[in-house]
């Protein structure tokens, strides 16, 4: 009984829940904004890079591969800190929100580029040949025959990777982006109690479980028998 009340006192203190609820909700709003922006720009940029790579211009592809490898290898936290503390020395001052958005978009783009590219490569040569033999140009073949199939194949891995990267919005806390974790740690240091952190954790679960479920739905929806 003793432990029970101590546990509630440590993680679910009602008074603190009431006091910090608005702050956490504000954090939820910020997290949703960044996540949506990252998903949109990251996936679009990844697809664009994979399409550019399909033209097989050697020098450009070297750059794309180097970019994709570097951004997949580096921990996102390192990138966030590097950009946030490095750019001002070059005279570029970006708000922390923008830094987090750009860095996470680039990381997601790097992974998506590889996934879309794998999809493009997996389309049989015969598809290209059939389309080209009817007079379709390279670009038209890519747009109407290859990409629709490649994107479909890419949906399940893209969904997984997107969920993984979006959770990294929590890294914004180290550069002062007012997202969920940032609000929670601030509240924790003022109150000296872990209740706001627990609130943050619950907020993440409530926010991301629908995303995970949606991801599973999209995966089954797009799993499709190939002829």
């Amino acid at each position: 009984m003793e432990f029970h009340s101590a546990f509630l006192e440590a993680f679910f203190k009602w008074e603190l829940i009431q006091r910090y609820f608005p702050a956490i909700m504000k954090g939820v709003g910020v997290t949703i904004e960044i996540a949506a922006a990252v998903v949109f720009t990251g996936i679009c940029a990844g697809l664009a890079l994979a399409v550019i790579r399909a033209f097989r211009a050697r020098s450009i592809n070297v750059v794309i591969v180097l970019f994709a490898d570097a951004f997949r290898a580096l921990p996102p936290l390192v990138l966030v800190l590097l950009v946030y503390f490095g750019l001002p020395n070059l005279g570029i001052n970006l708000p922390s929100f923008a830094v987090l958005w750009i860095v996470l978009s680039l990381v997601l783009a790097a992974f998506c580029e590889e996934i879309f590219w794998a999809g493009i490569l997996s389309i049989a040569k015969g598809q290209w040949e059939a389309a080209r033999s009817t007079g379709l140009t390279f670009v038209a073949t890519l747009a109407y025959v290859v990409l629709p199939q490649a994107v479909r194949l890419a949906v399940p891995p893209i969904t997984n990777r997107t969920i993984a990267i979006t959770k990294n919005t929590a890294l914004g806390t180290v550069i002062g982006v007012g997202e969920i974790l940032n609000q929670a740690t601030t509240a924790q240091s003022f109150s000296g109690n872990a209740t706001p952190l627990m609130m943050g954790a619950i907020a993440y679960v409530i926010l991301f479980i629908p995303v995970v479920v949606l991801g599973r739905f999209i995966e089954t929806r797009f799993r499709w028998r190939r002829a």
Binding site: A124, G126, Q127, E129, A130, A131, R132, S133, T134, G135, L136, T137, A140, Y144, V145, P148, Q149, R152, R225, R226, A227
Partner: protein
Amino acid sequence: MRLNGVVSATPPILEIRGLRKSFHHVEVLRGIDLSVAPQELVFIIGPSGSGKSTLLRCCNRLEEPTGGSIRVDGVDIMARSTDINAMRRRIGMVFQSFNLYPHMTALGNVALALVKVLRRPRKEAERVALAALDRVGLSEKAAAYPAELSGGQQQRVAIARALALEPKLMLFDEPTSALDPELVGSVLNVMRELKRGGMTMLVVSHEMRFARDAADRVIFLDHGAIVEEGPPEQIFSQPERTRTRAFIADIAR
């Protein structure tokens, strides 16, 4: 650009001169000369690796020839000034593995090039596509996806896809080799219909009975060169060359 268009009364649809093709250092075609007249059905036979498919694929530059010249309907398709995409829509091609687009219906497969290459309005393209499907006996399968069709039906849709562009020449690359035996007949019947309709065809195939009753001329290719050519009765019944005789004996088993 039609340099050769008015030289003779019936200029050939396809005119190949001294065609060579090497992959790295292996010479697959060693100087092929071949003319195909309008409405002619020319059959190419030969052992595997003899260069049959490569010869066919050079005719629309899916393979880039190493040397020689190819004229289709009087146009030098190797010339830098030739728009190969414009030429390809006049050269239909049918593949061993059908290569239908799995994400499109039969109608979508046939209509794609009509819309994107010939720039026909969608409605008109679908009408033309449906007519092409009707020619191969599959208008009732217009809404079906390739995965829902048998191999024979898929190959007929592929023929309709090429046919819809009203090509001057059709290339068939082992069109029945991937089919179950009971489905071969339906595809060959469509090809017979095309022949009857006056289509010019160059066919790589092992269907010897079909060659006997439909081909105007049979070409025996070995090691990248034409060994012997003539009407089917001659090639199949009285081949002159030893290599031809050996090959005919092999496939007749």
